[in-house]
């Protein structure tokens, strides 16, 4: 695939996030966004005057607002500036990052601000998602990003008990991470000793997919400021460089046309990872990357996807989970932030992956900073209809 035709390098120089929460009645949408924008400007030591372009994103119609970027100028600061709205579903946050990188790399703008947000308390998420597929074939059955079939796959391959325990181990690791992240929405304080209880008591949604294994429904916003190489070096002490990103999608496999074991639904991750790592000469991604912020909407998908992203074989991915190698301090820390299961303001979620990965590279993520130095970080985004976006971040400009 054609790539690496970047006109110039781009670095992340400012990051701001709200506290993610189930309820933010005290602010309306632009006011919520404004909190993240102000924090990112503070982080970058810039004012709105320094921003050349604003890239705005959320889930289309999730708050029942058409063209929210116009109204949100009250909070984004885009008054009188170039502003672009992006909506690519769950990946929107990751696409915001890709677009901002491209806009700055192209030379069109020197400093670009990406803003992802969602106020899921306000909208009608299921209403929005339900309308995405072909209305002729009973689209109401596609009730959002449910992952029951993945649970079935893992269970069939590794046995019910092992599958369930791996899923819950992953869940508790995410909770332990979320407990360290002051911005995380759900941080319960779960313990590994509760695995059996949770398997028994958590309400089942589809097959073995349980409520505790699903992502949260959050209000929150994230703002990331991107700058061209020259500006990034001038303005930031530790810019985080964007090495490469890839977007892969295939719509026709969506479950609406039935489940076919021979053509598994989600293989965009695997394809994207192979392409991205291949063109960057990375043979062993598990060793190359120091941290991975993965878009993990549910534990079953998360444990299954590790195999796709890192080109693992057999049960290597389950062992990573079972041996807690994905915990902070482990071999491949996954989501020190607590991940999507911890906080999911959807339009911001995938941008938070990039932001959190960048914070890890900068080394000032806060209480959930991993203890070993981070030189290479990976972030992924996921969404319907079957999109994968992957972003590679680097501490040094030396690739």
């Amino acid at each position: 695939m054609a790539h690496h035709k970047k006109n110039r390098n781009v670095g992340i120089i400012g990051i701001g996030q709200t506290k993610h929460s189930s309820h933010r009645e005290d602010v309306n949408q632009p006011e919520l966004i404004h909190e993240a924008v102000r924090l990112a400007l503070q982080d970058a030591n810039l004012t709105m005057k320094d921003i050349d372009c604003v890239v705005h994103g959320n889930m289309e119609l999730f708050e029942m607002v058409h063209q929210p970027d116009l109204w949100h100028v009250l909070g984004t600061g885009a008054y009188g500036k170039d502003c672009i709205r992006i909506t690519t579903g769950g990946t929107v946050g990751a696409t915001l990052s890709c677009a901002s990188d491209n806009l700055a790399a192209s030379g069109m703008y020197d400093i670009v601000m990406a803003i992802g947000f969602e106020k899921l308390q306000e909208g009608h998420t299921t209403g929005g998602i339900t309308n995405m597929a072909d209305p002729l074939w009973f689209r109401k059955i596609q009730a959002g990003a449910l992952t029951g079939s993945s649970a079935y796959d893992v269970e069939r391959e590794f046995g019910l008990e092992r599958a369930n325990r791996a899923s819950l181990t992953y869940r508790i690791i995410m909770d332990k991470h979320a407990c360290l992240n002051p911005n995380a929405h759900r941080a319960f304080g779960l313990e590994f000793s509760q695995i059996d209880d949770l398997i028994r008591t958590s309400p089942k949604l589809v097959g073995e997919l349980k409520l505790i294994e699903m992502c949260s429904q959050s209000d929150g916003a994230c703002c990331v400021i991107f700058a061209c190489e020259q500006k990034a070096k001038e303005l930031a002490r530790t810019p985080v460089w964007i090495r490469d990103h890839i977007t892969v999608h295939r719509e026709e496999t969506f479950n609406i046309f039935g489940y076919d074991r021979k053509v598994p639904v989600i293989k965009t991750h695997k394809f994207a990872a192979e392409q991205l790592f291949g063109r960057n000469g990375i043979k062993d991604p598990l060793n190359y990357f120091d941290v991975f912020e993965m878009y993990d909407p549910a534990t079953w998908w998360a444990i299954d996807w590790l195999r796709d992203f890192f080109a693992l074989h057999g049960d290597e991915h389950l062992k990573l989970v079972e041996n807690k190698e994905i915990m902070i301090g482990g071999r491949m820390p996954i989501n020190p932030s607590g991940g999507v299961i911890g906080s999911n303001p959807i339009g911001a979620t995938a941008l938070i992956r990039v932001a959190e990965a960048a914070l890890q590279v900068r080394g000032n993520a806060g209480p959930h900073q991993i203890p070993t130095p981070v030189k290479h970080a990976l972030a992924s985004g996921f969404g319907g209809t079957m999109w994968t976006v992957m972003t590679m971040l680097e501490k040094e400009l030396n690739w």
Partner: protein, 475 residues
Amino acid sequence: MAKEQVAGFEDSYEVEGKMALPYTYFAGRVGSKFITTIRDQQKIMGVKCPACNTVYLPPRQVCDKDFTDIRDNWVELNNTGTVTTFTVVRYDDRHLPRPAPYVLALIQLDGAGTPFMHIVEECKIEDVKIGMKVEAVFAKETTNTILDIDHFKPAPEKISIHALNTARKQWNPADEPATNEKRKGGKPDMATPVIIAAALTGAATMKNQNPSVPYTPEEFAEEAWKCWQAGAAMVHVHAREDGGMATHDHGRIKATHDAIKDRCPELIVNLSSAVGMGKTAEQRISQIVAIKPEMASLNTNTMNFGIVERKTGKIFIDYVFENTFTMLQDFSRAMEENGVKPEIECYDMGGLDNTLLIARQGIFSDPMNFNFVWGVAGGQAFRAESFIAMMNALPPRANFTTCGVGTDEFPCIMQSCLLGGHMRVGLEDNIRMPDGRLARGSYELVEVAVSIASALGRPVATATEARLIMGMKPR
């Protein structure tokens, strides 16, 4: 649901869809306060950006032009405004607030910098015009939305007092002898224009009593301008610090005086020589000499000047307001020598007599201008016969105006207007309208005075006429 097939498309059909999605919208703190203030107090509030002075309506947390945090900078706006543009909705739909046809307009409220959308009703659609004046009609039942203002209706075009004044014959000093002639027979001269003064602050009225009390020079200028628009020829001013304390600081008083003059060059500014409690004689008069306003208050006797609860008689603040004969003499002389016309404040007949006594030294230039003050705790309460007694004790050619504290304000100004005298109103004396609600500002009390004058058929004096009547130099 399949629809009937259209000719030429018999082999295919269309599927009808329907969406009815409940959703929630969080108004946030700023939006909530905006609506609840309309709902509970029938007041429309905007927020003002201190950096660019834009008044936003509907309000918002942040000025989107300069990113200033403005969430706490509330200002009250008028219920009247202007249609800046409009459309006619000509189709019916369930989500629309009215059956078609109806007018949806952008309305810029008086005092606001941005227009907002609302319905215009109570007039023919053909009569709606860009630039027409409209007035908010509040909903009887709340929906906790912007429809707590039910709609806007056409507002009567207020004929500006200034337009009325331009149209009539102007008063000139040649009319004065006739006035005095009438007075001798006890007949008031209703032809003399009535001077309306607005006392914007005093030393004691605070924003927590009425948020329209100005503190900063900019607020003074804004209030003064509104009062001038409403018909006042003069404002009486006690300068305040930002925190609201009355100040004798020359710089601050001058800044306040100049801000008003910059905004309304025609208006007469009358500065207080009382300033506030506990000021020395030097602090009280030096600022008048330094700034030389056209007029200044002159207090005429040492008296109790306290705060006493009217219903119970309980004393809150006990204070003696010192104005010795020496001070009266020195202040009068300082004013006259500096071209400042004294407004002689009489809190009872004794004060008037004190002045007449000192006047024998020949200090005062003619005509003298007296203000009968009623209802101070320490001075006399308003009584119609006391008013007449004081009026009859005035020297020839003297003018009189009057002001009253609290509910004394309206009867005393009405009596003064009736007897050919002048009127002072304002938040210094009284914070409420005749119906008991808080006045939106001194200007609303000026409007009451104007309505009294027009009920009696008396013209309202322009600033130029007021100068001539009170014997000031033309500006």
